[in-house]
Symmetry: C2
Subunit: 192 residues, 2 copies
């Protein structure tokens, strides 16, 4: 069993924690009020608003060396709500990997609404966590940890470059829910 | 009832034609061997490989003025299979709209595999055609024509700028099917 450290205690952090807990993993949350947090997990999930990621990198970046660091960000440009606040040929995950060159960055969970992680369902389909990254072993370890509880399934979407497409999906899904064209408890399902 | 002209007689052209035909519309196909084709429909679907779109623009562009022109392209860069052959902040649909300034360009069908249009199902979910465009009336007319047969449903994903995200979804879906992580008869479903 793995030890999982989750930065964030909101809807996403809680729902992601429940997925890992269902698999018998030890889950520790670190809230935004933590001073000098100690990162114990070999898997570290950054379940915080995208704008807060830089602070975590500044404060505990050195502790993340060698660890699997999970980026769940949907870096929506909230001024325009018409695009993402990252380079058009890049992604938040690519930015994080550049900021943490010794961490094993994996994109995951950004295409899942919190409610679908908690329920394990998108409509009648089992919730699929799409992951992307350049470290194959890190992806494999993360996928095992996510699926151990059998509440959700995982598809490896490819290299970290695919985070660009995952963030496009996450963004579109948010805009559709904000416009009430889908609900916050449904969205994109993946059918094999 | 509308008259629909579909460029292309392949899997996508045929399946899209069946969606419109189910609604009682008059559907005409134009094959790649047609010389001096006459475009009769008020809705024109370019169900051809992305590389063939420019030829259609050259040969019949003037006939498309004022018409609803449906771009279904997934402009995959087949040399790398690692991205799209369009500007990273743009889309094939935006390029088409620039090439046909007097047409009413709508992005549609590019997130649907042909089999899911023919069956009306992605797994247990009804097939959703995501559309995007800047001409609200054009989108509304197209959505009515697509849904008249009640075989599939439509969600308006927003302005033509959202074609960027729709093309990201289409591309990712193709890479997943090519890697046999999903089948060519399933893929992304939209659950409301």
């Amino acid at each position: 069993m793995a030890t999982i450290t989750i930065f964030g205690t909101g809807n996403m952090g809680t729902s992601i924690g429940s997925v890992f807990a269902a698999g018998g993993h030890s889950v520790h949350h670190i809230g935004s009020d933590a001073s000098s947090p100690k990162v114990e997990g070999e898997i570290v999930v950054l379940a915080v608003p995208h704008a807060a990621v830089a602070d975590i990198v500044d404060s505990v970046g050195a502790q993340l060396d060698g660890k699997i660091v999970v980026d769940i960000a949907n870096p929506v440009d909230f001024e325009t709500f018409d695009g993402l606040a990252v380079a058009s040929d890049g992604s938040a995950a690519a930015d994080l990997a550049a900021a943490l060159p010794s961490a094993r960055v994996v994109k995951a969970f950004n295409t899942n609404f919190a409610a679908t992680l908690a329920s394990g369902k998108v409509g009648d389909a089992i919730t699929t966590v799409l992951i992307a990254g350049d470290d194959t072993d890190a992806k494999s370890e993360l996928a095992q940890a996510i699926t151990a509880g059998e509440t959700v399934t995982v598809i490896d979407a490819g290299s970290l470059k695919r985070a660009r497409e995952l963030e496009a999906i996450g963004f579109l899904q948010i805009t559709l829910a904000a416009a009430e064209k889908i609900s916050w408890s449904s969205g994109f399902a993946v059918v094999r």
